[in-house]
Assembly symmetry: C2
Homo-oligomer: 227 residues x 2
């Protein structure tokens, strides 16, 4: 296999015309503390790669059953390899956040109007992946103006984000867990330009609580797919 | 006259059932330097109140001729009093920015995709007035979710912003000046809830250049309405 891209937590590999994510045991964080919101690789945790691919496999197969378009083909958890359909990210990378309850950057921005835990009814917002500029918020007009999205893609991505987030929310709810927010990534499939969910869906993408207790990503993965 | 509100650069006064802005000679700035982007009152400049009301009168009367709805009734420049129709701001205050060319916070946010001076084709964005949180950007869904705008008001305000900004842009263009961006405020008229342009329209609201030279607000006012 040939590594064609080295990422912070995953590499992209190719072999025989097929494309794969290889999940590494590196996680983002700062000062030795795991923090999915951080943009730097902070430390290695044995088993974190396996946890991420196992949880991603679980959810991508759920989306498949629900006919939600994604880049997922299959996953080999033991070898930490996920086969994916090649897709292009929007611009230099776009993140889409779905919020069920107010917390984090929503409060930092809109604390004059909302408090922690307020119901946000699956509010969706878009941010640019840009470490240097702290992943700035961006509206539909700017996304189109800067050539990042085409007309109509904003609403399509918003609709997909709500459906996907609801599937995950309901799954966690049935386990007595509550998801406050989740961060997703989308891209255009090579060839067709169809908008699909890309990247991974693991503990690091979401903020989940059991009552007042925050469930950290690896523990969440354990609760869903075991060790 | 009774002062019912004391603002940074203007007071609101009432007499005989009529409402007025009283333009003060205070301007926002920092360390003794006039900076319309600053949120603190920095210094007093003799004649600044008169310059602001004279320029506002000039533009509000232009908008009136163009049938653009505003809160303006009349202005007494010598006494620095502008009679206005009472209106309510959106939420705790909302600012609407129209950008013809990229500069300032647009570049600070989207510098990965745009450079200073890029054409932005009257792109419109909304920010909350919130000194403590550096006037955060906000999208349509959040404005509706937080009860700041009602359905439909976002598009109405965007359309008004583009028309108003174009009137000002064209006026300045005819004088050999180029407006890069402008910040406007809107509100709902008391009684009817009609969306109208409120506040003032003066040099501090806009970034104007003559070639490569930035024209500071008081000089701009002088170029338009004289001393």
């Amino acid at each position: 296999m040939k590594t064609i891209y080295e990422g912070k937590t995953k590499d992209i590999r190719q072999e025989d015309g097929k494309t794969y994510f290889y999940f590494k045991d590196d996680v983002t964080g700062k000062d030795g503390v795991f923090d999915p919101g951080e943009n730097q690789v902070g430390l290695s945790i044995e088993g974190s790669g396996r946890a991420c691919i196992a949880m991603s496999k679980y959810f991508f197969e759920k989306f498949e059953a629900d006919k939600i378009p994604t880049h997922y083909i299959s996953a080999d958890v033991d070898n930490r390899l996920m086969e994916i359909k090649p897709a292009k990210v929007f611009g230099k990378g776009l993140e889409v956040i779905c919020r069920f309850k107010a917390t984090g950057s929503f409060i930092r921005r809109y604390g004059k109007y909302a408090k922690d835990g307020d119901d946000l009814n699956r509010y969706v917002e878009f941010t640019l992946k840009d470490d240097e500029r702290q992943d700035p918020l961006i509206n539909e007009d700017a996304l189109v103006l800067l050539g990042i999205l085409k007309e109509g893609e904003y609403d399509r991505i918003k609709e997909l984000t709500r459906s996907i987030s609801q599937v995950i929310y309901d799954d966690l709810k049935a386990r007595g867990l509550e998801m406050y927010d989740i961060k997703l990534e989308f891209g255009r499939l090579e060839g067709s330009d169809e908008v699909v969910l890309i990247d991974e869906v693991s503990g690091g993408n979401m903020r989940v609580y059991k009552g007042d207790e925050y469930i950290e990503p690896l523990r969440l993965s354990e609760m869903i797919v075991g060790k």
